[in-house]
C-alpha cells in the first residue's frame, strides 16, 4: 500500500533501484531455469514495474481481488517474467513458484491470466490489454470508484490498430484515471521497431489523441517515480508516459540485441548475467 510513511526521497529511490535489480535477477533466473520466456522486454521494464508495484499501486497482496485496488494491465503480456517477479517479490505468491513459469499446471502461464494472484486481467494478445484497461477505467468512472488503472505497453505493440481505437475511447470518456506507460525499447520480435513499422513521434501521436504526455528515461528511477506520481494525481485527461528504455537492460550482452527477445540464456550466460546484475545498480 502506498499509504506507508515514506522514507526520505533519496532512500526511497535507492530502495526501488535495489528492488529493480532483484526483479532483474528473478527474470533471468526463472527464464534460465525453465529455458523459456521473454527476457529482453522484461529487463527493459524493470524500473517501470518496480516503481508501480513497490510504490505507486494501491494494492494488497493479502487481498488481491480487493475491489478498490488500483488495476495494472500488463498489455505487453509476453514480458510476464518481469510481472511475475514483481508480484512474487511483493508477496502475492512465493518466490520459488517463479521456477514453474510456463510449466505444466502452473499458475504462471506463458502469458498472464486472471486467475493468478495479483493479475487483474488476462493479456498477451498485443493491443488488447490496453483496450481492456480503457474498459476498466470507464467502468470505474461509472461506479464512482476512485482507483486508477495502469497499462504497460511495448512500443512494437503500438503497431496494433486497436491501440488507437482504445486511445480514442479514452479521450472521449476523459479517463483521467487511466495511465499508459510505453516501454519504448525500439526492438520487437523481428528487429528494430523504427524499421519494422515506424511509430514515431509516439508522444505527439498520443498528444494528438488528446492525452497528457511525458517522455522520460525509463531506467532513471527518479524520473520514473516522479512521472508516475504526476500521472497518478493528474486530472482532466488520460496520461501517457513514453519511457525510452533499452531492451535487455542490465545485462551487457543482452542490451539492444534482437536475439534476446525470446531466447533463454545458457548456464555460462546465466552466470555472467547474474554477476552483472548483482554487481551493479542500473
Amino acid at each position: 500500500m502506498n499509504s506507508n510513511t515514506k522514507p526520505d526521497p533519496a532512500a526511497r529511490i535507492q530502495r526501488l533501484r535495489e528492488i529493480a535489480q532483484q526483479v532483474r535477477f528473478h527474470v533471468v533466473d526463472m527464464v534460465h531455469h525453465v529455458q523459456s520466456g521473454h527476457i529482453g522486454g522484461s529487463l527493459s521494464a524493470a524500473e517501470i514495474l518496480t516503481a508501480l508495484y513497490f510504490d505507486i499501486l494501491n494494492i494488497d497482496p493479502d487481498n488481491p481481488r480487493w475491489p478498490d485496488r488500483d488495476r495494472m494491465m500488463m498489455s505487453k503480456g509476453h514480458a510476464c517474467p518481469v510481472l511475475y517477479a514483481s508480484l512474487a517479490l511483493r508477496g502475492f505468491f512465493p518466490l520459488d513458484e517463479l521456477h514453474t513459469l510456463r510449466q505444466f499446471e502452473t499458475r504462471l502461464q506463458g502469458h498472464p491470466v486472471i486467475k493468478t494472484p495479483g493479475v487483474d486481467m488476462t493479456t498477451g494478445s498485443l493491443g488488447i490489454g490496453f483496450s481492456i484497461s480503457v474498459g476498466m477505467a470507464m467502468e470505474a468512472k461509472l461506479s464512482g470508484a476512485s482507483y486508477n488503472v495502469y497499462a504497460v505497453l511495448g512500443d512494437g505493440e503500438l503497431n496494433e490498430g486497436v491501440v488507437w481505437e482504445a486511445a480514442s475511447a479514452a479521450q472521449k470518456y476523459r479517463l483521467d484515471n487511466l495511465v499508459a506507460i510505453i516501454d519504448r525499447n525500439n526492438l520487437q520480435n523481428d528487429g528494430v521497431s523504427d524499421t519494422i513499422m515506424p511509430m514515431e513521434p509516439i508522444d505527439r501521436k498520443f498528444e494528438a489523441f488528446n492525452w497528457e504526455v511525458r517522455r522520460i528515461n525509463g531506467h532513471d528511477m527518479q524520473q520514473v517515480l516522479q512521472t508516475l506520481e504526476e500521472a497518478r494525481d493528474f486530472r482532466g485527461k488520460p496520461f501517457c508516459i513514453v519511457a525510452d528504455t533499452v531492451k535487455g537492460k542490465g545485462v551487457s550482452f543482452m542490451e539492444n540485441q534482437r536475439s534476446w527477445h525470446g531466447s533463454p540464456p545458457n548456464d555460462e550466460q546465466y552466470r555472467q548475467a547474474v554477476s552483472e546484475i548483482q554487481g551493479a545498480l542500473v
Binding site: 494478445s125 488488447i128 481492456i132 480503457v134 470507464m138 467502468e139 461509472l142 486497436v162 482504445a166
Partner: protein, 323 residues
C-alpha cells in the same frame, strides 16, 4: 410454398431483444450496454434513451468495444455488447475467445443480421459462419430466437446464464411462432409440431420454413416432427434423440454454412448414439449475394421447398432400409 397457419411478425428479433433489454434496465440497475455505431439498427438505442449513463457508443471499432466490455466484466459488471454478426464473429472473434470466453466473463452479445436475413445488404453483412465460430469456443453459449416472443424471452435466458452468451438475431421480421406462454431455458428446445416419420430440426428464421415444409409434407402423407433448437450450445440432445428414436430420420435446416453448423453437430450425435438416415441443409461451401430473402433461400437451397424435398428423400431412404 406459402403458409396459411403462421401470422406475419410485426417486428424483427433484433428489435424484440432490444425492447426487452430496455425493459430489463429497470429490473437490473447495474448492467451496461455498448454498441459500435449501429445502435439505431440493433435498436440498442432504446436502452440508451432510457439509461444514457449506462449506454456507451464505442464508435465503429468492434475490437476495442469487446475488449472494453471485457474490462467492465472483469470488474464485475455485466455488459450487453451489440453489432452485426460478421463483425462480431470475424473481426472481434479473438477478443471474444481469449478475453471474454477464456476468463468466462459476463458479456452478452447482441448479434444482428444472422445468416441470409441480411439479404439485401450483401455478403459482407451476412453472418453465415457465426454459429460455427461461436459454438467452437469453450464457455460460450449460443442462442437463436425464431420470433419476437422468443427474442424477448431469450434475452432473459442470456442475461441470467453465467458467462458469455451469443444471441443471433435477424434483420427482418418473418413469422410469429410463439405466443406469450412459451418458455425457454438454456439447453432447451421446443417441439412445435409432433410427427412420426421424420424429425426436422432448425433454428431462427428456418423454423418457419420448417413449419411450412411440415404442413406441405402432411398434405403428402408424411408426418414431420418440428423442433425449434433455439439453444444451439448447449443443445437439447435428450429431446432431439428421443424424437429421432421415434421417427427414425433426421433433417437439420439452418441459415448458415453447412460446414460446422448445428447439422454437423447433430449428425455426430446421431452417429454416436442412434444412426438414422440424416441430411443437413445449409450453404454448400459458397457465398450468397444481395437480394430478396425468399429468392436467396430458394437459390441457395434453404427454403421450405428444399426442406420438403430433402425430407421426402430421407423418408424414402428410411423405408427402403426398413423394407
Amino acid at each position: 410454398m406459402t403458409t396459411t397457419a403462421l401470422k406475419k411478425a410485426a417486428i424483427p428479433t433484433r428489435r424484440a431483444y432490444s425492447d426487452r433489454m430496455a425493459e430489463y434496465g429497470a429490473i437490473d440497475s447495474d448492467f451496461a450496454v455498448m454498441d459500435a455505431d449501429i445502435g439505431y439498427s440493433t435498436y440498442s438505442y432504446l436502452f440508451g434513451d432510457k439509461y444514457p449513463e449506462r449506454y456507451f457508443n464505442m464508435g465503429i471499432a468492434e475490437v476495442n468495444m469487446f475488449a472494453c466490455a471485457a474490462g467492465f466484466a472483469a470488474n464485475g459488471r455485466t455488459v450487453v455488447a451489440g453489432s452485426y454478426g460478421v463483425f462480431i464473429t470475424m473481426r472481434a472473434v479473438e477478443v471474444i475467445r481469449s478475453f471474454i470466453c477464456y476468463p468466462n466473463l459476463n458479456v452478452k452479445i447482441l448479434s444482428s443480421h444472422g445468416g441470409l436475413t441480411a439479404a439485401i445488404d450483401g455478403v459482407t453483412h451476412q453472418a453465415t459462419e457465426d454459429i460455427a465460430t461461436m459454438s467452437t469456443i469453450p464457455n460460450m453459449k449460443v442462442l437463436v430466437p425464431a420470433d419476437p416472443v422468443a427474442a424477448g424471452k431469450l434475452f432473459d435466458v442470456s442475461f441470467t446464464s453465467p458467462g458469455p452468451v451469443f444471441t443471433r438475431l435477424m434483420r427482418d421480421p418473418y413469422y410469429e411462432i410463439y405466443d406469450n406462454s412459451a418458455s425457454f431455458v438454456l439447453g432447451g428446445s421446443n417441439t412445435l409440431r409432433e410427427g412420426s416419420d421424420i424429425t426436422l430440426v432448425s433454428y431462427g428464421d428456418m423454423v418457419f420454413q420448417a413449419v411450412e415444409a411440415a404442413e406441405e409434407l402432411a398434405r403428402s402423407g408424411i408426418s414431420a416432427e418440428v423442433i425449434d433448437a433455439y439453444s444451439i450450445k448447449p443443445y437439447d440432445a435428450e429431446t432431439i434423440l428421443k424424437s429421432m428414436r421415434k421417427t427414425g430420420a433426421l433433417l437439420v435446416a439452418e441459415n448458415h454454412q453447412q460446414k460446422n453448423g448445428l447439422g454437423y453437430e447433430l449428425g455426430i450425435l446421431s452417429l454416436r448414439e442412434f444412426p438414422v438416415p440424416f441430411d443437413t441443409l445449409g450453404l454448400r461451401d459458397t457465398f450468397a449475394e444481395s437480394g430478396d430473402y425468399y429468392k436467396l433461400l430458394e437459390k441457395y437451397g434453404l427454403s421450405s421447398n428444399w426442406i420438403y424435398k430433402a425430407a421426402t428423400a430421407l423418408v424414402a431412404r428410411k423405408e427402403h432400409r426398413n423394407a
